[in-house]
Amino acid sequence: MADKTFYFLTFLTLLFALLVVFSKNPVYSVLYLILTIFCLSGHYLLLNAQFLFAVNIIVYAGAIMVLFLFVIMFLNLREDAEPQKSTASKLAAVVAGGMLLVVMVAALRRVDAGSYNPATYNSQIGLVENLGKVFLGTFCCRLNWLRSCS
């Protein structure tokens, strides 16, 4: 069940990301970017990173995308106003991106990324309580230490 959800969300995310890049109207691009970000939030939820799920929706879908939408409405861009690049340079861009993808996949295909350790696994690390402890405990201690050094 979980793996089917993962692959479905992955497919949706990549589809919406492609639509962001290739849709003609900038307003549609922003709307597809919002959908992409909601799909990524679903990925965070699957990974049990609930704090990042909430922050992603609030900060990205709630604040950044509204800012984008506001600027696009403000500038009043029309879809025919954007001059297109020549077909050759578009093709070159897509080929360059595709070759980067091929190189990265070939380099990372055999890499042993490791996996979870069932003995020490803690599924609660993405929750607000634990992240707050790490954020205000460990990281703030280091900041205070840096300040006392200077």
């Binding site: 990549l14 691009s29 970017l33 990974l47 990042l52 991106g97």
Partner: protein, 109 residues
């Protein structure tokens, strides 16, 4: 020590690496293909999100909370960066009546 999430049990970490790579490459292609500065900016956001997802995936698989704290920092910086960048784009539009990056090559002189 609760139950391990189903995704972490069934999906290998390599699939997250490939997925993030694909999302990052889509962002790069967007930067290279489009001429509208706003769309280019959105593609940069896509790349940032790909990196965020990979950091979260590694953090969740390794059960180490530092990665998710880094993602939180990245989100804070991205929000600040978007506000500054959009202000720059609005000023470019007020000067040129267009957000086409082809016009910006006069920055050379």
């Amino acid at each position: 020590m609760e139950e391990i999430p189903g995704v972490i049990r069934t999906i290998p970490l390599n699939h997250y690496i490939f997925f993030s790579t694909a999302l990052f490459v889509i962002g790069i292609v967007g930067v290279l293909v489009r001429r509208n500065a706003l769309i280019i900016f959105m593609s940069v956001e896509l790349m940032l999100n790909a990196v965020n997802l990979l950091l979260t995936a590694f953090s969740a698989y390794r059960s180490d909370a530092s990665g998710q704290v880094f993602v939180f920092f990245i989100m804070a910086v991205a929000a600040a960066e978007v506000s500054v960048g959009l202000a720059i784009i609005v000023m470019i539009y007020r000067n040129n009546r267009s957000v086409d990056i082809g016009i910006l090559n006069r920055l050379k002189w």
